[in-house]
Amino acid sequence: MIKKILSYFLIAFGLLVLGISTSKEAMRYIITNRNGNQWWSICQWNKGDLVGMAHLDIINKFESQEASSGFKRVNDSFPKNTNLYIFGDSYARYLKDFPWAFSGVNYLKVLDKTYACNYHLDSSKRNILLIEITERHIRYYFSDTRMLEEIYDSIGKKRNLTGVVGPHTKNYFEASILPDLKLEDFFNKNINPNLQHNLFNYQFLKPFFQVKAAINYYLFSRADGDVVVSNDGNFLFLKETVDRYNIVSSYYPVTNDEINNLTNNINIIYNFYKKGGFDEVYLSIIPNPATIVQHEGYNNLIPLIQNNPALKMKIIDIYSVFRNTHGDYYLPGDTHWNLMGKQLWIDLVNKSITE
């Protein structure tokens, strides 16, 4: 009898956990509500995102704390007539509370994790859009104007891209056989990370992960899973950024055709926003830490895009500044930059928007 009850319980539990881990809405709810310091809360990793991913918080040399404040207050005489919009990712996170760090800025809007939004421009001001993107996302976003799709989705417009996009995008739209059935809702590609989150991501299980991380680090001199230790042993990298077979890697080959295609798609984005009323649109590509720290074999993706004569978008070039710094502006156990790196970038932005 007990076996029978137990088996029914496990069937129900299994179905429930599979269902929850498939549902995007349920996962969003769980992730936002599992904060705190209770035993059942999510494992807390406060020493860097890569340190957290690799469970390496026992190794002090990788300890990292991403800067969320401490920026220089700009003290300039520029009239506050610029409305600055930053569409960016986690590198530009935290900046939304610091409009005073930017020169001549009257209004600052920072959108994290999206490159599109409903915007209403004040035509009496100088409206500047800055698109900040990390190197590892460039080929994803600009290979087929996915960014433009996000924009269309966000403003609720029908995707009528005739005459706007190149052949690449057309193929992308036509690739799905059954676009309206939304089969992906039943077969979530992130189900394994979601299951990992729901079944094992608990404070009380943290020691088990740490033991595995310690075995790998001390016995086999490497990090586990999606994180790798740099060749000099001083930095952690996202594995995908150093994996030569991964398109987001700093070492994955780039062809001239691809650069031209990326440039063409960036220009489409540029035209879109210029027509939308922005006075200027800037692009800033943040190098992968591996690009700077482990430069040998680099595919030169950033300079090839930035120096392409066909590129219309103005560039805020942080790559050239970082190029010979050997990682002075990056955190050892985090994908992001340190306070100095972030401040250096803000200074470059200020220089560009006040020119």
Binding site: K4, S7, Y8, L10, I11, G14, L15, V17, L18, S21, N171, A175, I177, L178, L183, E184, F186, F187, I191, N192, L195, Q196, L199, F208, V211, K212, I215, L219, F220, S221, R222, D224, G225, D226, R244, Y245
Partner: protein, 464 residues
């Protein structure tokens, strides 16, 4: 959904427990079919339509073959073969064929642009096709009666443990087991779970660890020393064995838990003393398929020595093509065929001598030959394979990178040795005493978790 994933573990738990709670076979068949559809759709959902199409054709073809007179029987068989091979030709070989036409025209200075198919190969299509063909051919040969229950037939070709990478089953083995109500048996559950854990160990602890070295040497051939390339090639031999036989162990174990016995796919192939012996121990379900449905119908060894050798060559050539639409696979198959063709029947000076030392020497020589041929299988193209082989024999210096730290390199060799010894001297998975079973279960779980390399590496044979 790969076998090495949390999704599979939860899925397997639910399906197995539910399976044993159902008290009639009809319910169990429906459950397994729905579970198998979910399993397949978790890769690319839309592709189930391709499988569905061929299943419908084969189901009706089987019934018609059984009902029809002589001439019509052949018609329905041919229809089934065209439907299955046609699907394979379109989704697997069309782009390869067009690419070669492009290259041919370009060679003669007349560039040509024919449309290419822009979709990924449906996972496991080659396995599915061969299993479906075995059914209609067996019905045609009157060795199997046509299955009238559509759900049972659909489950025969979609049974989730062997759906995407075999073993390629025969209807005589699986259909009766699917139709018979088999009660829960603790001994089978123990054997199945023990075998699954052994498969997890081979995949996560050995294959994916060796893959780190293999990816490096095959990806940086021009920079690596001859020694590093040789190690990379040897490691690939063990990687592909642990990967594929690990998959088979999990498949056979998962079926065994539900009291269903699938055919053995591997019989310690690297202990073979010759290439022809190797093919009786490696991917047995495929080699026996080719023997039964191609080699023997071509005449086998009944039409003279030269015809026999030609038949061997044809079988291996098609076996290479079955593995993938790339010249590397074709050459790999062709070379295997040539070596078997040349060596079979030729008596060597060592033939007939069965001392331990001579047997050991033959095993080593055969292993090195198989390893050499795997280079074609693993390389991205023929040029890379040739450079790889040349670089090994150049005995040159260079980067001795093997990616792993010295400790992990030694650990890798040790676990390969443990795996070989265990399979040689403890080949079974039956653990009769419960205490020993639970100890084994917990130990293997701990070892797999702490020493497993959990990356998003699919099983190598999924691509076929």
């Amino acid at each position: 959904m790969t076998f090495i994933s949390l999704q599979f573990l939860v899925f397997f738990m639910v399906v197995t427990l539910w399976f044993f709670r159902l008290k009639n076979q009809n319910g169990r068949i429906w459950l397994l079919l729905i579970a198998s559809c979910y399993f397949y759709m978790s890769f690319i959902p839309e592709y189930i339509l391709i499988l569905g199409g061929t299943i419908i054709v084969d189901y009706f073809a089987g019934i018609q073959i059984e009902r029809s007179e002589v001439g019509n029987r052949k018609f329905w068989l041919v229809l089934s073969i065209i439907a299955n091979i046609g699907a394979l030709a379109v989704f697997k070989y069309y782009n390869f064929f067009i690419d070669n036409i492009h290259s041919g025209f370009l060679f003669f200075g007349k560039p040509l642009q024919l449309p290419l198919l822009k979709m990924a190969l449906p996972i496991g299509l080659s396995f599915h096709t061969f299993q479906a063909l075995s059914y209609t051919i067996e019905v045609y040969r009157r060795k199997q009666s046509a299955e009238r229950n559509f759900v049972v037939y659909a489950l025969y070709v979609m049974f989730y443990p062997q759906l995407v990478a075999g073993p390629i089953e025969r209807p005589q083995n699986v259909l009766p087991q699917l139709k018979e109500f088999r009660p829960y048996e603790w001994e089978n559950v123990k054997e199945g779970l023990a075998r699954m854990l052994w498969g997890f160990f081979k995949k996560a602890v050995i294959a994916d660890r060796l893959a780190m070295v293999v990816e490096r040497t095959f990806g940086h051939t021009s920079e690596a020393s001859s020694a590093a390339l040789f190690i990379g090639a040897v490691f690939y031999s063990f990687q592909i064995y642990c990967d594929f036989s690990g998959y088979s162990d999990i498949a056979l174990g998962a079926a065994k838990v539900m009291n269903i016995s699938l055919m053995e796919n591997f019989k310690q192939p690297y202990l073979s003393g010759s290439l022809s012996e190797f093919w009786t121990r490696w991917h047995v379900s495929l080699s026996s398929w080719f023997r039964d449905y191609l080699y023997i119908p071509l005449g086998g060894n009944r039409k003279g020595e030269w015809r026999r050798r030609l038949n061997i060559l044809i079988v291996f050539l098609l076996s290479g093509l079955w593995h993938g639409a790339n010249w590397t696979f074709i050459i790999w198959g062709l070379l295997h065929g040539l070596f078997v063709m040349i060596l079979v029947g030729n008596t060597s000076p060592l033939a007939g001598r069965n001392s331990v030392i001579i047997r050991f020497f033959r095993i080593i020589m055969n292993f090195l030959l198989v390893t050499f041929l795997w280079i074609f299988f693993r390389a991205e193209n023929l040029q890379n394979a040739w450079i790889y082989i040349k670089s090994i024999f150049a005995l040159r210096g260079g980067a001795n990178f093997i990616t792993l730290s010295p400790a992990e390199f030694i650990f890798s060799i040790l676990i390969v040795a443990v795996m070989l010894l265990r399979e040689r001297y403890l080949p079974g998975h039956i653990i009769s005493k419960n205490n020993r079973f639970w100890t084994y279960l917990v130990s293997m779980l701990i070892i797999c978790y702490y020493f497993g390399v959990f990356v998003e590496n699919q099983f190598i044979y999924f691509q076929f």
